[in-house]
Structure formats: structure tokens, C-alpha cells
């Protein structure tokens, strides 16, 4: 099935290109590459390894295909790893203001067991089309087909020999119309999906949704813009008729006032119901923001949101406040800050998690040097407190990132992130502290050659003891005008030092990827 799709893709690319080339003069380019991937892996393949989608086989790719016909038609395609199971193919054909077609197909697998014997493979194929018969009207539609099959193992037990079979397909399709009239828009869309579980037919279900949206400035008051819509969503099991439905109305308005002031308002009303157990929920949300801008110097916004959540057991009201702003004292220096709070109160009835408070803040400073890169520093934090459950969770994160460009030597991008999380539950606590260090250096081209080096180091400590790292060495050489040789050597390592039995969680991978590419003129 998959190879068939690949053949169809490649044939379609060729047919489209050849037939249109014959009919219309034009020009284009592409990159044809042949390569080989060498894999040497040991240890727990598991779902966590970054190399999950690499195969040790020859590779063929035709990438960056761009062909423009003299009449403005344009063909774009990327056919990566055509003959392999990790193929990723896209093909598009369009003309500005008239139509566009795009098709895609890709697939990947995930391992679940220590030795890789249990894995699932997912593939997705689909396409989209849009046609604009009139400058104010656009029709669009598309569909995709997703399949997943294979075997998984129990959670928390990589050594388990008991497997769970997975085999399902999903089909998506959508279509609609978009009317765009001098600053106003109306859009109507239908979406549907069918889920077929080949292991258990009683899980087969279909889902439909209808979306209507309209917006634009108000007549005679063009400083007021409004946007609103409606969505109906329904998902239903084929065999039992069990159904979940959701109806949502939403909208917003933006008022541009004199002196660079503006006010924005938005709302959501959502009613979700099901004939299954424990589900019937209404939600209403209103949010209003007021902002003031000092052009090219500063910006400040303050917001308030009120939410009502009403389900089968309780009504919950939430009050949220939000403040944000930026300041650019000089053009190359930018400070940004955000603070948000949310307090949820059970006003009627009882819910399992009771009242809850949330608080978050974020601060970043960025220095940009037009020719030489940028430096970003940031801190953000989120806290959730629940007195009834006796639980509190807190995340804090510090970030630093440097991008440096020095014309004589090359580019460097690197960063460090420290994040920590503390969970306090009634019976148990959990803490982690993560260090993530990453960097990539690429030299400038010298004697037709570019070399690069990259590294990532991730460590999680406190209640965990995990190290995950990778080193990447790369080299590229351009020769005979149209050819490139690229070689990349990567080392991956993963250790979970808390596991000490025979199935201790370790992984080592040595991977060499080589490819030779020829630039093609079409």
C-alpha cells in the first residue's frame, strides 16, 4: 500500500512536470540525492529515543523541486527518502489568485519494547485543493488518510512481553467556501472524519463539524472590527450510537481609539453534551483587554477574563487577570513581560478538585545586533495551588540563547535552559530539575567545504536520574559545480540510572548519514 502510494507520487510528479514542460516553457531547479544511512544501536530502543524514525538503508531523495512556467503556474515538491519507510513526500501545484493543489504522504514508527520487537507504524496521506473562481470567492477542500498498526507494551514496563495490538485507520475530509469582500470575510466549512478500529469494531466512530465565521470592520465605524463564529461538533460510535456533541458560538471586537489606545473584547459560549456517563458541560467566557502603544518605544496591555463552567456536578466561576508589555529603550534592545492570574471558585455543587488558583509570569530580554546575531535571556514560572486537594505544582524555567554570526568564521547558535518542577500531592511529592544545553557551530564556506558540530545534553535530577545526549559532526563539500557531498556522524546516548535490573534503560546509537546531491536545472 505504502510503496504503491510512493510510486503514485513519483509518477504524478513526473507526469505533471513533463506534460506541462511540453506545453509551456519555463524554468526550474531541483536537488537529486543518493545516500546511505548506517545505524549501530544498542540498548533500549523504546519510544523515547530521538532516532526512532531512522533506517539503515540506501536513500533516494529529490528535494526542493521548484518549476515555474511562463504563464505563472508553479510546481513545488519535496520527495524525501522515496524508497524508505520513513519517506516524506509533498507535491504542490499552484497559481497565484487562481488555484492550488497539494498532496502529501509520510510515515514513521515508534518503538515500545527494549529490543524493538514491539513497534507501531503510522502513515498519513492526503491532499488539499483551493480554487478562486472570483476575486472575492474561494473554495477549498481536502482529505487525508491515517493508518496506525503494530504492537505496544504496557506503560511503565519496557521489559514486558505482553503486547497490545494496535490497528486503526482514520479518514479526514473537509470542504468549504471563503468569501472575502474588501476587508470583510465569511467562511463556511464542513469537516468530517471516520475512525475504524480493526481490532475492535465497536470502537468505530465518525465525527462531523460545521464551522461558520464572519468578520470585518463595522460599516461607517471602521475603527471597530468584529469577528465571530459558530461551530457544531459531533462524534458518534457506529455500533452503540453513543454520541458527544458540542455547540460553540464565539466572537470578538476590536476598537481602535485615538492616541494609540485600543480595546479588545472576546467571548466564547460552548455547550457540550453526551449520552455517555458524566458529561454535560456549559462554558461561557468573556475577556476584555485595553492597550496603549508608544510607537517604537513601549506597549502595555491589561486584560480581564471571566469564565463560567457549569457541568453535571458543579458550577465554577473563574476570574483571570493579565498584564503584558514591552519596552525598547534602544532599537536593538527589547524587554518583554507577562503576568497572569486565574482563580477558580466552585460556586455551586461540588467537584473533585475544588477551588484552584493559577499564577504565571514570563520575562524576556533580547539584544539584537543586526549583523552579528542576538542574545536572549528569559525566566518564566507557573504555579497551581489547590487547598482542597492539598496539592501544589510549580514550574520555573530560566533560558539563555545566543546566536552569533561572524562573517569570517561562521555561525553559532546555542542555549541553556534550566527548568524545575515541584509537585506536592497529599500522599507523595515529586521534584525534577532539568538542565538542557544545546549548541550548533557551522563554519563559513572555505575551499568549497563547510564543517559543523552540534551537541545536546539533557539531564534530569532530583527524583529522576536521566541523562540524554547527542553529538553531531557534519561536513559538506561542493565539487564539479553541481555536486555536493554531505556526511553526518551522530552519537546518541540515553541512561536512566534509576533502573538497575537486567532491562536497565540505556541506549547508545552511532549513526552515519551520507549523501551525494546533484543540482538539477529543469
Amino acid at each position: 500500500m505504502d510503496m504503491k502510494l510512493t510510486r503514485i507520487f513519483v509518477m504524478l510528479s513526473g507526469i505533471v512536470l513533463l506534460s506541462w514542460s511540453a506545453a509551456n516553457a519555463g524554468s526550474g531547479s531541483a536537488k537529486l540525492s543518493l545516500g546511505y544511512t548506517y545505524l549501530d544501536e544498542e540498548g533500549n530502543l523504546s519510544v523515547n529515543q530521538s532516532t526512532f524514525n531512522l533506517y539503515g538503508d540506501p536513500t533516494v531523495s529529490i528535494e526542493d523541486i521548484l518549476y515555474r512556467f511562463d504563464n505563472g503556474l508553479r510546481l513545488r515538491a519535496d520527495l524525501t527518502n522515496i524508497i524508505m519507510n520513513n519517506r516524506n513526500l509533498t507535491l504542490g501545484f499552484d497559481k497565484a489568485g487562481l488555484f492550488g493543489v497539494r498532496m502529501h504522504h509520510n510515515q514513521y514508527r515508534r518503538f515500545y519494547s527494549f529490543d524493538g520487537s514491539s513497534f507501531t507504524r503510522r502513515h498519513r496521506s492526503g491532499g488539499e485543493l483551493w480554487v478562486r473562481p472570483h476575486r472575492y470567492l474561494k473554495f477549498f477542500g481536502g482529505g487525508s488518510y491515517v493508518g496506525k498498526s503494530g504492537q505496544m507494551v504496557d506503560l511503565f514496563d519496557a521489559a514486558s512481553t505482553a503486547t497490545i495490538d494496535v490497528d486503526y485507520t482514520q479518514t479526514y475530509y473537509n470542504g468549504g467556501a471563503h468569501v472575502n469582500y474588501e476587508g470583510r470575510m465569511f467562511r463556511a466549512e464542513f469537516r468530517g472524519s471516520d475512525f475504524t478500529n480493526n481490532e475492535d469494531a465497536s470502537r468505530n466512530q465518525n465525527c462531523t463539524s460545521i464551522l461558520l465565521t464572519a468578520g470585518g470592520p463595522l460599516p461607517k465605524y471602521d475603527f471597530v472590527s468584529v469577528l465571530g463564529g459558530f461551530r457544531r461538533f459531533a462524534t458518534k460510535y457506529d455500533s452503540s450510537g453513543l454520541e458527544l456533541t458540542s455547540n460553540r458560538g464565539w466572537g470578538g471586537a476590536s476598537l481602535r481609539l485615538p492616541e494609540n489606545f485600543s480595546v479588545k473584547y472576546s467571548f466564547v459560549f460552548d455547550r457540550t453534551g453526551s449520552d455517555s456517563d458524566l458529561v454535560k458541560t456549559d462554558n461561557v467566557s468573556h475577556a476584555v483587554y485595553a492597550t496603549h502603544t508608544w510607537p517604537h518605544l513601549a506597549y502595555l496591555t491589561a486584560g480581564y477574563q471571566k469564565d463560567y463552567n457549569d457541568d453535571f456536578e458543579a458550577q465554577v466561576q473563574s476570574n483571570s487577570f493579565y498584564f503584558a508589555g514591552w519596552l525598547m529603550p534602544i532599537k536593538s534592545l527589547e524587554f518583554r513581560a507577562e503576568v497572569g492570574t486565574r482563580a477558580e471558585e466552585v460556586t455551586d455543587g461540588v467537584r473533585l478538585v475544588g477551588d484552584e488558583d493559577h499564577f504565571r509570569h514570563k520575562f524576556t530580554a533580547k539584544y539584537r545586533c543586526r549583523d552579528n546575531g542576538s542574545l536572549t535571556l528569559g525566566v518564566d514560572s507557573r504555579t497551581r495551588t489547590n487547598d482542597m486537594l492539598g496539592s501544589e505544582s510549580e514550574f520555573t524555567r530560566f533560558t539563555g540563547q545566543l546566536e552569533a554570526r561572524i562573517a569570517e568564521y561562521g555561525n553559532f547558535t546555542g542555549g541553556y535552559v534550566y527548568s524545575q518542577g515541584d509537585f506536592e500531592n497529599k500522599e507523595q511529592t515529586f521534584e525534577f530539575a532539568d538542565h538542557t544545553l544545546f549548541g550548533d557551530i557551522t563554519s563559513r564556506e572555505c575551499h568549497n567545504a563547510i564543517v559543523g558540530f552540534g551537541a545536546t545534553y539533557y539531564q534530569s535530577r532530583r527524583d529522576l536520574d536521566v541523562v540524554k545526549s547527542s553529538l553531531r559532526f557534519s561536513g559538506a563539500y561542493r565539487f564539479l559545480e553541481f555536486y555536493h557531498l554531505e556526511v553526518k556522524y551522530s552519537v546518541f546516548n540515553f541512561d536512566d540510572f534509576l533502573y538497575t535490573d537486567q532491562f536497565d534503560e540505556y541506549y547508545t546509537g552511532n549513526i552515519v548519514e551520507m549523501k551525494i546531491t546533484r543540482d538539477i536545472s529543469l
Binding site: S50, R68, A96
Partner: protein, 315 residues
């Protein structure tokens, strides 16, 4: 409680929607001939700009091209061309880079009135902090889809550096391998408010329908609509986690966020239930068709004794 929702909360929103009806024209447009003539004037001095648009969907429309519904010319985007022709100073011609956030929105919305574009004005967090169109998109010398400056899967990482680092954790969604993209989940279409958390959590269902329900016996947290961090993200960290399967806490930690260990688990059968992870028995944790306690329907066969011989596992 569901019937008790007060409809008065809807009065104001309904009014806003009613006001949006009967929209009228208030803009300026050029004929294909006008666009072609003015563009020819521009290209007398700026022919490299035409070349930079050759392979783009913003390619300047030829006057002989009768097929395109929309004609594109320099003056669609660059206001002030008449003055600029008289006095060709850079200050006399408008460019997006010199415009404020709302100026950029005005400019691009002459043609692009999409959900994404409209939401930038109303509820999108990028718009709220004045991040305009040209922060992510560029027009000249760009053939990427949607004219994003960089069509790599993790382009958003340019600003969201700390989030990007989450994808390097122990378990992560496959962003770095290119199998998912930021916009697969973060649909910038104006129907969600990320920072103040308005939105049903159907994003996960797009790929994980097998876990989405509806189930005969629901795990209510899966349907915790409109609660910050609610739904799937109550237990999972979608970008990446220090734990397996994107879980926020290892082992029973996620369960103990809301549940205590029932006393009977400590007493019955010498406390056997406390020696397993919760999900070893409550394996249908997303929802069950078999029993209200979300227990594995085949639990009896797995254990050394069959629970169902003494206990009723169903509703």
C-alpha cells in the same frame, strides 16, 4: 447544574454578532491595467524586486494574464507611490517594516482576511503583545508555504526558545524529527486563546482518536473544558517531559494529583493493590466501555486470582 446556565451571559455577545451583519465596502482597489502600469513604473528602478517575486505567489501579474482572479502589483502593498515617483526618497514609500502592528494588519488584510489573520486583531496572543505579520512572514525572495520566513518545523523556536528545549527531554512529541509541526497543534485560527485558556481540547484528538472517546464511562478530567491545563494536559506535558509517555509525574503521581489511595487498597489481600502502579489495573484510564472504575476488562485473567469472582467490576 447544566440547565442553570444564565442566558443573560449571551446577550452582549449576541449583540456584537448582530452588529457584524450588513457589512459595507470601505477600501480601495486597482484594476489590472492600473496595477500593471504602476508596477512597470516601479520596476524601472527596482527590477530586482520583480525578480525576488518571480517564484512566489505574490508574483506581479502580467496585464495579459486573464486567468488569475486576483491581480498583484507593487502598489497593492506600497502606498505613497505617486509621491515616490515625484520624489524618489525612501521616506516617501510605505514598507511593511515601518508599520506598527495594526498598520501591518491593515496592509495584509487588504487581501488576506482569513481566520488566522482576523484573530490576530481579536484574540491571538501574538497580536496582544504587538507581534505583527512581518515577524513571521516575508514577501520578497520567499517561496515558502504561507510565506513564512522559515518553513522548518520548529521555526517558532526562534522566539519560543524555552518551549523548544522541552522537545529535547526524555519523552517528546517528534518535532525535531519533522514528524509533527508546531502548527499541527497550535492552530492560529482564532478559535483558541492560549494564554487565558479558552478552547476545547480537541487538538489531541486529531491524531489520537483511539483515546478520545466518548466512552460509556468517562474519566471526567478528559473533558475538563476551559480549565487551564485541563483535558489531556492535566496529566501529559505535550511538548516533552522528563517522564515516560509525556506524563507530568512518574508512576502514580499523576493519579495522586486528584485521588488518594483508597484505604481498601492498603488492607485487602495484604495490600496487594499498593504494590502495582494504578494504571496496571486501571488501564482504561482515558475511559472505559466496561466498568466505571476504568479497570482493565481482562484484569481477572491477568491476576493470579480472578477479581470478578468476588467483586462486581461493572457499573
Amino acid at each position: 447544574m447544566g440547565e442553570g446556565m444564565k442566558l443573560r451571559y449571551l446577550a452582549l455577545p449576541a449583540l456584537v454578532l448582530l452588529c457584524s451583519a450588513g457589512l459595507a465596502y470601505a477600501g480601495h482597489s486597482y484594476s489590472k491595467v492600473e496595477l500593471s502600469e504602476t508596477s512597470s513604473m516601479c520596476l524601472n528602478c527596482h527590477d530586482e524586486k520583480a525578480v525576488s517575486l518571480e517564484n512566489s505567489l505574490h508574483r506581479i501579474t502580467e496585464v495579459t494574464d486573464m486567468t488569475s482572479a486576483i491581480a498583484i502589483g507593487c502598489v497593492n502593498c506600497h502606498d505613497g507611490w505617486a509621491e515616490h515617483v515625484e520624489d524618489p526618497s525612501p521616506e516617501n514609500i510605505e514598507t511593511a517594516a515601518r508599520l506598527s502592528f495594526s498598520g501591518q494588519v491593515d496592509l495584509c488584510s487588504r487581501c488576506h482576511i482569513t481566520l488566522h489573520q482576523s484573530s490576530m486583531v481579536s484574540s491571538d496572543p501574538h497580536g496582544r503583545v504587538e507581534i505583527g505579520c512581518i515577524e513571521c512572514h516575508s514577501v520578497h525572495s520567499n517561496v515558502n508555504e504561507h510565506l513564512v520566513k522559515d518553513d522548518s518545523d520548529n521555526y517558532c523556536a526562534v522566539c519560543h526558545t524555552s518551549v523548544a528545549a522541552e522537545f529535547k527531554r526524555r519523552s517528546a512529541h517528534p518535532l525535531e524529527s519533522g514528524n509533527v509541526r508546531c502548527v499541527d497543534c497550535h492552530m492560529l485560527d482564532g478559535t483558541e486563546d492560549q494564554l487565558l485558556a479558552v478552547g476545547l481540547d480537541w487538538r489531541c484528538q486529531n491524531c489520537h482518536s483511539d483515546l478520545s472517546g466518548p466512552f460509556l464511562y468517562e474519566h471526567p478530567v478528559v473533558y475538563a473544558h476551559l480549565v487551564e491545563g485541563g483535558g489531556c494536559t492535566e496529566c501529559h506535558q505535550p511538548h516533552g517531559s522528563p517522564n515516560d509517555r509525556l506524563l507530568k509525574q512518574p508512576g502514580d503521581g499523576v493519579c495522586l494529583q486528584c485521588h488518594g489511595t483508597p484505604p481498601v487498597h492498603r488492607i485487602a489481600h495484604a495490600g496487594i493493590a499498593t504494590r502495582f502502579a494504578c494504571v496496571d489495573c486501571h488501564s482504561d484510564i482515558h475511559g472505559s466501555f466496561d466498568n466505571k472504575k476504568l479497570l482493565d476488562p481482562a484484569l481477572g485473567a491477568k491476576m493470579v486470582f480472578d477479581c470478578s469472582e468476588c467483586h462486581v467490576l461493572g457499573d
